[in-house]
């Protein structure tokens, strides 16, 4: 925990209310996100019990599995969920944009993309497992499932994979999104409880954060946000209702009673989810969000367009794909952290406190200085920035301006309450800087060493050139009937 977030937490305790740790919203919130509140059967890894789903607060659909141990019912449930999710995916593509691509070709990008929101990390894990258990199902032969089931599995897997991608907004967990913007006076573990977290951020009238969070501990008032259910509910309500349904032989009234019981467990979380969406939506959007959402739309366009010709995602990444994916994730992480700090002075303040960035007033400026040591002169303006920040950077460290990241520089010396920076890039092409590019004396500036793009483009061997150190080239995947085989407990 950084000193700044520790301070925000202490202030939250004193104020009895969550404190902002961001001045702008760093995630995209769709106009109509598909909110999913999943529940699973206790004791099972991913046996679905119910999902409340919908893209508007007043129109939830509640899908249930009356006997979650029954495989046929599970996949019937998956088929109805599939229709709901796939319908959302297909109706949230927006207009198709045509962009100039490589070699004069036209590249397509959908104008919008579907966004899924779940209450917490457990919800993401559940969707990932549900995707894993449905994407290989066979639609013919023994144990055939509805044709929509494996399609749902592939989409859920894709959403869960995008969730791993730093800065992606395609699948979000409400607790994570809220914690990105507010600090509470409770522990991180307690922040995982959506009701308690919302209690701190937006306590009901007449209550403060701690008392609202204390109320959230009562599972009768605030049932767990899933996917695990409250054990007392399991024992006293759910188990008898499922048993009654079994005894009735699938009677509609027994099913309705079960459904009503489950509805009491998900409805409070459903309402919390939309309140959380409202809170997030009320924040002004950060400048970098649109750019990251563009990347999300690119990924969505690509996956949607190649869906027909691709196999279900492999159970395991082969060596080259694993290495590539890790590289992509690390690059995205670096870009995401840099962009958040550029967009938000409160995030930048954390970097300044750790000494990775510094801000202050320009006290000295030589905008037209030339470096003439090389073959031809180069424009290298010098800036001296007076700062009280605890700068912990070595001379020679590359930095960039927070206000305009294209303006790049290098630390020359640090000392005497100031930092001397040599500007090296983003000045224009000529030997005189473009107007307004170089800060002048008296300007407030902020430079950071956490820049984007330090990774560059990485080269990886082709799959068939996987080296001996990593077991050699993996065998080509050929779909077989065995793919659908599963050890059913």
């Amino acid at each position: 925990m950084s000193a700044l977030s520790a301070l925000a937490r202490l202030e939250a305790v004193r104020a009895g209310r969550a404190q902002p740790v961001a001045t702008v919203r760093h995630v995209h919130i769709a106009d109509a996100p598909l909110v999913l509140v999943p529940l699973k059967l206790a004791g099972e890894a991913a046996a679905p019990l119910a999902v409340m789903a919908g893209a508007a607060p007043d129109a939830p659909s509640l899908l249930i599995v009356p006997q979650p141990r029954n495989r046929d019912q599970r996949f019937a449930f998956a088929a109805s969920l599939a229709r709901l999710v796939l319908n959302h995916v297909e109706t949230h593509r927006g207009e198709v944009e045509e962009l100039p691509g490589k070699d004069g070709e036209v590249r397509l990008r959908y104008g919008d993309a579907p966004q899924l929101l779940v209450p917490n990390r457990g919800g993401v894990r559940f969707l990932r497992l549900l995707g894993r258990s449905t994407r290989f199902r066979s639609t013919e032969g023994a144990y055939a499932v509805d044709a929509a089931v494996p399609v749902l599995g592939r989409w859920l897997t894709w959403f869960a994979d995008r969730h791993d991608h730093p800065g992606s907004s395609l699948l979000g967990a409400a607790t994570e999104l809220l914690r990105l913007h507010w600090a509470t006076g409770q522990s991180s573990l307690e922040d995982g409880n959506l009701a308690a977290l919302m209690g701190w951020i937006d306590p009901p009238d007449g209550l403060d954060g701690p008392s609202a969070a204390a109320l959230a501990e009562d599972p009768v008032r605030w049932p767990p946000a899933g996917p695990a259910t409250d054990p007392t509910f399991d024992n006293e309500v759910l188990a008898p209702a499922i048993a009654a349904y079994d005894r009735s032989g699938g009677d509609a009234r027994a099913r309705e009673r079960l459904r009503a019981a489950i509805e009491t467990q998900v409805t409070p979380t459903w309402e919390l989810m939309w309140r959380a969406v409202g809170l997030l939506r009320a924040l002004p959007e950060a400048a970098g969000v649109a750019r990251r959402w563009e990347r999300d739309r690119d990924a969505f366009t690509h996956y949607h367009q190649t869906f027909g010709e691709a196999y279900p995602q492999a159970r395991r990444d082969p060596p080259v794909r694993a290495a590539r994916r890790l590289h992509d994730l690390e690059r995205a992480q670096e870009a995401y952290e840099a962009q958040r700090a550029f967009d938000d002075p409160l995030v930048m303040a954390e970097q300044r406190l750790t000494g990775a960035a510094f801000g202050g007033v320009v006290t000295e400026c030589h905008p037209e200085r030339l470096d003439e040591t090389g073959k031809r002169p180069k424009l290298r303006p010098l800036l001296r920035v007076a700062t009280g920040d605890p700068v912990r950077l070595e001379p020679g460290t590359p930095v960039c301006s927070a206000a305009r990241p294209a303006l790049k520089g290098r630390i020359v010396e640090i000392g005497g309450g100031g930092v001397l920076v040599e500007l090296t890039g983003g000045l224009g092409r000529r030997l005189v800087p473009e107007a307004g590019v170089v800060p002048v004396e008296g300007d407030r500036v902020c430079f950071t060493s956490r820049t984007e793009g330090s990774f560059g483009i990485a080269r990886f061997p082709d799959r068939e050139d996987t080296p001996w150190t990593h077991g050699g080239p993996p065998e080509d995947y050929v779909p077989t009937a065995d793919d659908a085989r599963e050890d059913w407990s």
Binding site: A322, E330, R459, W468, T469, H470
Partner: protein, 456 residues
């Protein structure tokens, strides 16, 4: 019947098992392992792995193996992890074997350091084609990964335990056979993202290059250098027991071979007492009263800096198998876990401590000093996270010295450890890591308890 020669394992020798003693002469034990390694290079294996504990002559081995392969007429690439390490190797190799044509492949922004410029025969280039005539080409792994083609019959991968396996994947196409050298006890490679999806895969890109290599090629010969030439007799058993519990190593010198003396008498302060304890026994634990603090604990930072300055003021003289020499600031290092701690200690050192190296464990890897002062990673903490428990971090900090190590810590770390047992989830297919950081920390603290000097 003659017994096979044992790898020397300290404390494993016992009198009942028979008359044949384990190899006790360290020079002969180490020489035999090096000879075995060089023999294996000609043995038709695709890879050879050499584990090296701290100060066991890893760089010397790399230089010898490089010269050995070059003498056999093989073209050779050497992979190091940082530019610093590359320059170090060039300096050693060019100094010891000036007849071997040597090239340094580097990124466009690289300016040759003094150590490289001291050897004008070494060619520095940005493209591999420009170095086609050089028998040995050295570069960082990141630079090697930018090459699209070209192939070398042999590679030597230095610090292979600090290289991530995805990097090995990217450079493995450049060589046919390779010698992997590294220290399994130091810090594991890390990633800036937390993803679980590859846990348990034998090619997990977050694991170290050596563990992935051995998972796919279990028959490769693995050698262990048995002697630490750096660590004194007072430290080798402690570090060996805590961090290399199953393989072990011994000190290259005996008790009494190394001595640390002070030119100036102390004034009886607690700093003096801690330094005298360290000079006499090789270890001291300067213990501040128990307290929960910020990471940059002002008192601990002050004590760490003051101990190092006081050490220099006492005019220390080191006697060792290499002769007698005064210990100046260049031979003293201060280690800490975090960069902000390092910055705070640097600021606290003042002019009397000018020239003392202060750095994090990551940056101190592979370096050697006469005396070290270490701010314990768990000092003043409320919790023991995986970062602070990582055995490699403490291992690096506790194994940089030739004579003595002074550890600065708040009281109460054993209790903190007891309150925070390792809770990392156990995953299928992931090899259990030894030593466990928790256990290693307890082991070192148990030893330090006998060298405790309470502050104030």
């Amino acid at each position: 019947m003659s017994r096979p020669p044992l790898m020397s394992v300290p404390h494993a020798a016992n009198a009942e098992t028979g008359p044949a003693p384990p190899e006790t002469d360290p020079a002969r034990a180490a020489g035999r392992v090096v000879a075995d390694v060089l023999a294996d290079l000609g043995g038709g294996h695709r890879g050879v792995v050499v584990d090296s504990p701290p100060g066991a002559g890893k760089s010397t081995l790399v230089v010898r193996a490089a010269a050995h392969l070059a003498a056999a007429g093989e073209r050779l690439m050497i992979v190091a992890q940082t530019n610093e390490q590359v320059d170090d190797l060039i300096d050693r190799l060019a100094g010891k074997h000036p007849e071997v044509p040597l090239g340094r492949l580097s990124a466009s922004g690289y300016a040759p350091s003094d150590r490289v410029r001291a050897h004008p025969a070494v060619r520095v280039a940005q493209k591999a084609d420009d170095l086609a005539g050089q028998t040995v080409v050295i570069a960082t792994a990141a630079k090697w990964a930018t090459l699209q083609d070209g192939s070398w019959p042999w590679a030597i991968v230095d610090e292979a335990y600090q290289m991530r396996s995805d990097m090995l994947l990217r450079i493995a196409g450049r060589f046919e056979r390779a010698l992997f050298v590294g220290d399994p006890g130091q810090l594991d490679p890390f990633s800036t993202v937390e993803v679980e999806r590859w846990a348990g895969l034998s090619w997990d890109p977050m694991r170290s290059a050596v563990s992935v290599l051995l998972a796919h090629n279990p028959d490769l010969p693995v050698h262990r250098l048995p002697v630490s030439w750096r660590l004194p007799a007072s430290a080798a058993p402690v570090v060996s027991d805590a961090f290399y519990p199953f393989t072990g190593f011994q000190a290259g010198t005996r008790e009494g071979d190394r001595r640390l003396e002070f030119g100036a008498r102390g004034m009886g302060t607690t700093y003096d007492r801690a330094l005298e304890e360290a000079a006499a026994t090789g270890w001291a634990l300067y213990e501040l009263p128990a307290r929960h603090t910020l990471r940059t604990d002002a008192e601990a930072v002050q004590a760490t800096a003051a101990l190092a300055v006081r050490l220099l003021q006492r005019g220390p003289v080191a006697h060792s198998e290499q002769g007698t020499a005064g210990v100046d600031a260049a031979r003293v290092a201060i280690g800490a876990a975090h960069r902000d701690q390092v910055a705070a200690i640097r600021a606290a050192l003042g002019p009397h401590g000018a020239g003392i190296t202060v750095d994090t464990a990551n940056r101190l890897q592979g370096r050697e000093y006469d005396v070290t002062v270490v701010l314990h990673p768990l000092s003043g903490r409320r919790d023991a996270t995986a970062f602070h428990l990582e055995s490699g971090r403490l291992c690096v900090l506790a194994s940089r010295h030739r004579h003595a190590c002074v550890v600065v810590a708040r009281a109460g770390i054993p209790e903190l450890l007891d309150a925070h047992p390792s809770t990392e989830p156990v995953r299928l297919g992931v090899p259990v890591k030894f030593p466990d950081g928790w256990e290693a920390n307890q082991s070192v603290l148990a030893h330090l308890a006998a060298h405790r000097v309470p502050a104030g």
